[in-house]
Amino acid sequence: MPNALTRRLEEYTPLTEADRAELARLSSQAVQTIQAKHDLIREGDAPRSVYVILEGWACHYRLLKDGRRQIVDFSIPGDLCDLNLFILDRMDHSIGAVTRLRVAEVGREVLHRVVTNFPNITTALWWVELVSKSIHREWIVNIGQRSARERVAHLLCEMFLRLESVGLTDGFSCDFPLTQNEIAETTGLTAVHVNRTLQELRRKGLIVLERRRLEIPDMLALQGAGLFNPNYLHIQRLSRHTNAGRTSQETQSRSDNRTGAASVRNGSKADTSR
């Protein structure tokens, strides 16, 4: 069973056995545990290493002077926090543990060696950075244009698909450890509004969310509610990830949901819903 980092990078570039062995090595050295709610690194600190997320969720955030917080990204298993650390003198944001984290720490020399000797990995890392930018663009759209309900639905869809791409979902269920406050800090809403929106989504049967587990009974409907089009995630292998045990018709309609059908439906919904 390939590790999350390998699965992530293989989204973008075929990897050789030697590449995979190197990634397995990177994922198993200098492993540390970070307690929930602790920071990996703070804004203003000098970064020393890149962290490979092995278990748990991390969040990237900025704090305003008065304590208001905006979460600007999540890192989940298979993600690298983050390659920019390599170049920056000072962090321009903080990275914190949402849940307890297990991470592998990769220092500059090690990363430099990898990048020099493993061109496929380097290509994949470049893709990872580009997709990271694409996700940020989508988050700007989320906060700039979408309604409260659309923002929350969109976030749930995104995190589910990101987890699925690294093999961390079980059918239509996944871990979802964010508090309502954290969802609020991600979507630019109040916790009150997030609470109300989640109640609405539950009432409509679009989500089951309890004890930090999310289940999406109708992915197409939740995507519609969030005006969600998965293209920006550039996940190539979605149809291979749909589980054995589903009928081929379900599998086909599920991968349709994520590509053409979803975007057509989203296009027409945008005119009428607000």
Partner: protein, 78 residues
């Protein structure tokens, strides 16, 4: 922390769960911010029925505050 219940008359259901907030200052701040976002989200349909009301209750169902926006169109409007 006490639980507060936010009811918006936008066709949605009553708040059954409530949100824990530290004090009335937090309730007041959250109510205005949430109300503003809800008004914004209604922008396409607001003028069909130009009123939006938010009521905040405590866990004893006592009303603590209310926010209301009325829209009126003057006869001069084309």
């Amino acid at each position: 922390m006490r639980r507060y219940f936010f009811d918006l008359d936008d066709g949605g259901a009553r708040d059954e769960e409530g949100t824990q907030l530290t004090d009335m200052r937090a309730v007041r701040a959250a109510s205005v911010e949430m109300f503003g976002q809800a008004l914004r989200d209604k922008s396409a349909s607001f003028w069909d029925d130009p009123e939006l009301k938010l009521t905040v209750r405590d866990d004893g169902d006592l009303i603590l505050l209310r926010l209301t926006v009325f829209g009126t169109t003057a006869p001069a409007a084309p």
